[in-house]
C-alpha cells in the first residue's frame, strides 16, 4: 500500500475518522491493528517476524528496567542486540555474504556450488530493527523508562506512518506521545495536510518523473560524460524527492493523527561540507549511527587516528545498512573518507566570517558535486555498472536531442526546488511556504496542485528506501 495510492487514501480516511471517535487506550489498539493491516498489505508472512522482534525487545527492556544487577542488564541488552542483528543479518545479508564467500573461494581456485536459495527481504526491516534496538539501548542507559503496556510498545515499533521507511524514531521521543495519546488538532491537521501535499509533490512530480531518466542513463552500455552527469544529477534529485517525499507524507499523516515525528531532512543539497551534509540528510539514521555506534566506539576522544577509524567504521556500516551490495560499502567508505578529510583539514583552523562568506558558493558547489559522485556509486547496480559510469566521465561526445530534453526536464524539476530551498535557508525556517502572504502562497499552492494533476506520475514506482 503505497502512500501515493488510492488504497492508502481510503485506508487513511477510515483510520482518521475512526480514531476521532475513540478514547485513548482503544485508540492505541486501533492504531496497532491498522499498522499491522498496513504492513500485512505488503506481505502478511512477515508480520510474525515483526511480532517476534517486538516481544523480544519488550521483555528485554522491561527486565533491564526492573533489574538491579548490572551484569543481568548487560546480558539482556546483549540478547536484544543479538536477536535483532541476527534477524536483520539473516534476512538482509545472508545471501550477500554467501555469494561473496563463493566468489572469494573461486578466486582462490576453490569451486563451491552457487547459492540456489533466495531470502525475501521484509519491507522496512532495517528501520524497525534500528528503532527497537535504540529503544532497548536507551532503557539500558537509563535515559528513558520502558512503556508498560505491550500494546503501546507494539505500536511504537509498528506505527504505520513511519514503519516502512522511517524516520527512525527514538523511544525517548515517540513513546511519551504514545503514552499520552495526543489528539488531532486543527493546526496539526492543516500543517500535516501541507506536509502530505508537499511530500506527494516531491514523490509524484520530481522523483517519479526523473526515475525513467536515471534508469535510462544507468542502463547505457557506454555513456558519455554528459549522460553520466545527467544520470548523477537526476538521481540526486530523484532520491531526495523520493525519500524526503516519503518522510514528509509520513510526518504529515502522523501530525494529522496528533503525532509529531522527527525531522529527517534539512535542505541537504545546501550543505557546504560532509559533516554538515550528514546533519541535513537522513538525520534520523545519521544521528542513530552517531549515538549508538560512533560514540560507543570512542567518538573523537582518543586522538585523530582513532577518530578516523571510528568515522570510517561508522560510515561503512551506514553504507551496509542501505543494502547488501559492494556498491553500498564503497559509498559508505567514500563518505567516510570525505568526513575524515574534512575533519583533518578543518580541525584547529580558524575561518574568518569574511572568508566563510566569500567561499560559500565554491564550498556549496564542491559539496554538491561530491554528493552527486557518491550517488553515482550508490545507484550503480553492480561494480561493473559503476566502472562503466565512472569511465563514462572521460568519454566526451556531442549532446543529442534526447540528452537536451533530459537536461531540460531536470532543470524544470530541480531549479524551482533549489530556489525554494535557498529561500528557506535565507529565512532559517523550513516552514516557508505556509508562512508566505496570500499571493505567493496561493501561486505556489496552485502551481503545485496543477503540476501534480498534469505531470504527477502515480503508482509506477515504489519508494526507493523500501528496499532498505
Amino acid at each position: 500500500m503505497l502512500f501515493n495510492s488510492l488504497d492508502f487514501l481510503g485506508f487513511f480516511i477510515v483510520v482518521f475518522v475512526v480514531q476521532l471517535c475513540l478514547p485513548h487506550r482503544p485508540r492505541n489498539l486501533f492504531f496497532l491493528a491498522a499498522s499491522y493491516f498496513f504492513y500485512g498489505c505488503w506481505d502478511w508472512r512477515f508480520l510474525g517476524l515483526m511480532a517476534v522482534s517486538t516481544v523480544i525487545d519488550y521483555i528485554c527492556s522491561h527486565r533491564i528496567a526492573t533489574s538491579d544487577d548490572a551484569a543481568t542488564k548487560r546480558r539482556l541488552l546483549a540478547v536484544s542486540m543479538i536477536a535483532n542483528l541476527a534477524i536483520l543479518g539473516f534476512f538482509k545479508y545472508a545471501g550477500f555474504f554467501v555469494d561473496s564467500w563463493i566468489t572469494l573461494a573461486a578466486s582462490r581456485g576453490i569451486e563451491l556450488s552457487p547459492r540456489t536459495w533466495q531470502i525475501l527481504l521484509p519491507v522496512g526491516i532495517s528501520f524497525y530493527t534500528f528503532q527497537t534496538m535504540s529503544y532497548t539501548w536507551d532503557v539500558y542507559r537509563g535515559e528513558m523508562k520502558p512503556l508498560k503496556r505491550f500494546a503501546d510498545f507494539a505500536l511504537y515499533v509498528a506505527f504505520f506512518p513511519q514503519l516502512v521507511a522511517g524516520p527512525i524514531e527514538r523511544g525517548k521521543r515517540l513513546s511519551p506521545q504514545i503514552k499520552s495519546g495526543p489528539r488531532t488538532t486543527l493546526d496539526g491537521f492543516q500543517s500535516g495536510s501541507w506536509l502530505v501535499f508537499k511530500g506527494l509533490f516531491k514523490k509524484a512530480v520530481i522523483a517519479d518523473n526523473l526515475a525513467p531518466v536515471v534508469d535510462s542513463m544507468f542502463a547505457l552500455e557506454s555513456p558519455s560524460a554528459v549522460q553520466v552527469m545527467i544520470g548523477a544529477y537526476a538521481f540526486a534529485f530523484q532520491i531526495y524527492g523520493d525519500f524526503s517525499g516519503y518522510t514528509d507524507i509520513a510526518r504529515g499523516v502522523g501530525r494529522m493523527l496528533g503525532y509529531d515525528l522527527s525531522l529527517n531532512f534539512r535542505l541537504p543539497y545546501l550543505a557546504t561540507n560532509p559533516s554538515e551534509f550528514w546533519q541535513r540528510w537522513h538525520i534520523s539514521l545519521s544521528s542513530w549511527l552517531r549515538d549508538y555506534l560512533y560514540i560507543p566506539l570512542g567518538g573523537n576522544r582518543n586522538g585523530p587516528w582513532m577518530t578516523s577509524r571510528n568515522l570510517m567504521l561508522t560510515m561503512l556500516l551506514g553504507g551496509l545498512w542501505h543494502g547488501a551490495a559492494w556498491t553500498f560499502v564503497i559509498w559508505g567508505a567514500f563518505h567516510g573518507v570525505l568526513l575524515i578529510c574534512h575533519r583533518r583539514t578543518t580541525r584547529g583552523v580558524g575561518w574568518s566570517d569574511h572568508w566563510i562568506r566569500r567561499t560559500y558558493p565554491l564550498r556549496l558547489f564542491c559539496m554538491f558535486h561530491l554528493t552527486c559522485l557518491g550517488w553515482l556509486i550508490f545507484r550503480a547496480d553492480s561494480l561493473e555498472n559503476l566502472h562503466n559510469m565512472l569511465s563514462g566521465l572521460l568519454r566526451w561526445s556531442a549532446i543529442s536531442i534526447a540528452d537536451w530534453q533530459n537536461i531540460w526536464m531536470l532543470a524544470l524539476l530541480a531549479a524551482p526546488l533549489m530556489v525554494l530551498h535557498w529561500m528557506k535557508e535565507r529565512s532559517q525556517t523550513l516552514v516557508f511556504v505556509p508562512n508566505l502572504s496570500l499571493v505567493p502562497r496561493l501561486t505556489i499552492y496552485t502551481t503545485m496542485a496543477a503540476t501534480i494533476l498534469a505531470l504527477g506520475s502515480f503508482g509506477k514506482q515504489d519508494f526507493i528506501y523500501f528496499q532498505f
Binding site: 530534453q405 524544470l412 525556517t429 516552514v431 502562497r441 496561493l442 496543477a450 498534469a454
Partner: protein
C-alpha cells in the same frame, strides 16, 4: 553554521515577511522592465514556446494582444503581492489552510474550464504535434481528439464515407488512397491507435457515430482480445466522461471493478478534471520543450526515438506475443465491450464490417490456437446477434509469409491484397446502386477473394 529549523513562530513569520517586502520592493521598481520583458518576450516567442517555431518578427510586437496581456500580468503581479502584504492581517486566521485549499480548488476548476475551450485544446494538441515523433502514442491522441472534435464530413452523392477503426495492424494494412479510388469513397478517415484495445471501441462508439460515416471497418483478432490484464488507463483517459465510465464499469464484473479500482478512480478523475484528462499531452509539452535551433529538421528526424508498433521486428513481436497473449481477466469484458460498440454502430444505421485479423504465421505460433478459434466463434455469435458483417479467415484473403513486414503488420503486398478485398465489398454494393441500409441480422457475404486455406 546555522541549520534551518522547523519553526512557525512569529519570529520566523517576521523574517519571511521581511524577505517578501524586499523582493516586492525590488519587483515594483522593476515593473516597467517586467512589462516590457513580458510584452516583448510573449510577442516574439509565444510561437516558439508553444509550437517550437522560429520567433515572430519584431514588427508584430506592437500589435500583439497576447504580449500586452502577459506584460500587464507581469507588471501588475508585484502590486498585487504588495497589496496582499498590506492586508495580511485579514489572512491571519485559524482556517487559512482551508481557505487556501478552497481558493486553489476554484482556480483549478477555472483552469479546467479554460483548458476545455476548443481554442486552448487546439493549441495544446498542436504543441504536442510539434514535439512528438510520427508514431508517438500521445501524438496519436492529439490527432484523434482533433478528428473527433471536427464537424462531420458531409456525404457526397451517397458515396461511402469510410471510418477505419483499430490498431496499427489495420492502419498499416489498408492503403487509404487505393481504397478511395477503387471504392469510390467520398472520404476515408482513420481512427486507429497503436495497440488499440476492445475496451476503447465501446467508449469511442458514440463520437464515431457523430462523424456520420456510412461504413466502419475493423480488423480484430485474439491479439486484441487476449492481451490486456487491467483497464488500460492511458488509452481511455483522454476520452473519459461520466457516460463512458458508466459504460466501462458495466462491462466489468464487481470483482474486476474492485481489482481495477485505481484505474476506475483515475478515469473518474479524468471525467471531472480536464487537467487530469489531458495530462499525457501536457506532460509531453512540458518535458519535451527543448529544441536545438542549430540542428536542421532532417538531423532531428534521424535522432528521434524510434517508437511505435510499426517498427517492431520479427523477434520482438514474437517475444511480445509470447509474453502478452494469454487468457487474462479482461477477456470477457473485451468481448462485451466490442459487442456494445457494434450495437451502437449498427443502431445508428452504419454498416459495420469486421475482418478477422491475423499476424505473421510465426507470431501466431507463440500462443495457443484455441484463442483464435474462441475469438472467431464469439465474434461470429456477436455478428449473428447484433447484425454486422464478419469476414473470418475463410471469407477473406489468406496472407502468407511474404505478405508481412514484421511480426504483426502487413507489407505493401499484403496491404494491397487486403485493400482490394475491402474495396470489393464496398464497391460491389455501391456500384449496384445500393444505399447504405440499416444492418440486417444476416447480411449477404461476398465470395472470398482467395481460396480457402487448406
Amino acid at each position: 553554521m546555522n541549520l534551518p529549523e522547523e519553526q512557525s513562530n512569529s519570529a520566523a513569520k517576521q523574517t519571511i515577511r521581511l524577505i517578501e517586502r524586499r523582493v516586492v520592493s525590488v519587483l515594483i521598481w522593476c515593473s516597467p522592465v517586467l512589462f516590457v520583458a513580458g510584452w516583448f518576450g510573449a510577442s516574439l516567442y509565444w510561437r516558439t514556446l508553444l509550437y517550437l517555431q522560429p520567433p515572430n518578427q519584431w514588427d508584430t510586437v506592437l500589435t500583439s494582444r497576447i504580449g500586452v496581456l502577459i506584460g500587464t500580468v507581469f507588471a501588475s503581479a508585484p502590486f498585487l503581492w504588495k497589496a496582499a502584504l498590506k492586508f495580511s492581517r485579514l489572512d491571519a486566521n485559524r482556517f487559512r489552510g482551508f481557505l487556501s485549499v478552497s481558493i486553489v480548488l476554484v482556480i483549478l476548476i477555472l483552469a479546467g474550464v479554460v483548458l476545455d475551450h476548443p481554442k486552448a485544446r487546439f493549441a495544446l494538441e498542436e504543441a504536442v504535434k510539434a514535439r512528438a515523433p510520427q508514431l508517438d502514442f500521445v501524438r496519436n491522441i492529439a490527432f484523434k481528439q482533433q478528428l473527433l472534435r471536427n464537424s462531420p464530413v458531409p456525404h457526397h452523392d451517397g458515396r461511402p464515407h469510410i471510418l477505419i477503426v483499430g490498431s496499427s495492424q489495420i492502419n498499416l494494412g489498408i492503403d487509404t488512397e487505393m481504397l478511395r479510388q477503387s471504392s469510390g469513397a467520398a472520404d476515408i478517415q482513420s481512427l486507429c491507435m497503436p495497440g488499440m484495445v476492445p475496451l476503447q471501441y465501446s467508449v469511442l462508439a458514440k463520437p464515431l457515430c457523430q462523424q456520420k460515416p456510412t461504413h466502419v471497418l475493423c480488423w480484430v483478432s485474439e491479439f486484441d482480445f487476449f492481451r490486456e490484464t487491467s483497464v488500460p488507463v492511458v488509452r481511455l483517459r483522454w476520452c473519459s466522461n461520466a457516460d463512458n465510465l458508466a459504460r466501462l464499469a458495466s462491462t466489468l464484473t464487481s470483482r474486476q471493478q474492485f481489482d481495477n479500482r485505481s484505474e476506475l478512480a483515475d478515469l473518474a478523475l479524468a471525467s471531472l478534471s480536464p487537467i487530469w484528462q489531458q495530462r499525457s499531452l501536457i506532460n509531453l509539452v512540458a518535458f519535451r520543450f527543448w529544441w536545438p535551433w542549430n540542428v536542421g529538421v532532417s538531423e532531428v528526424d534521424e535522432d528521434e526515438a524510434k517508437v511505435g508498433a510499426a517498427l517492431v521486428g520479427q523477434q520482438r513481436g514474437l517475444e511480445n506475443a509470447r509474453r502478452n497473449i494469454s487468457r487474462t481477466a479482461m477477456v470477457r469484458a473485451n468481448f462485451q465491450s466490442f459487442g456494445e460498440f457494434a450495437k451502437v454502430i449498427t443502431g445508428n444505421h452504419i454498416r459495420l464490417i469486421v475482418i478477422e485479423g491475423e499476424s505473421h504465421p510465426e507470431t501466431m505460433k507463440a500462443y495457443p490456437a484455441e484463442f483464435r478459434l474462441e475469438t472467431r466463434a464469439r465474434i461470429k455469435q456477436l455478428a449473428d446477434t447484433i447484425g454486422f458483417e464478419y469476414f473470418d479467415e475463410t471469407l477473406r484473403p489468406v496472407f502468407v509469409e511474404s505478405d508481412w513486414r514484421d511480426a504483426v503488420h502487413l507489407n505493401e503486398q499484403g496491404r494491397d491484397r487486403l485493400t482490394r478485398f475491402v474495396a470489393g465489398i464496398i464497391d460491389t454494393e455501391f456500384a449496384s446502386g445500393q444505399k447504405p441500409e440499416p444492418a440486417q441480422p444476416e447480411p449477404a457475404q461476398p465470395e472470398p477473394a482467395q481460396p480457402e486455406r487448406p
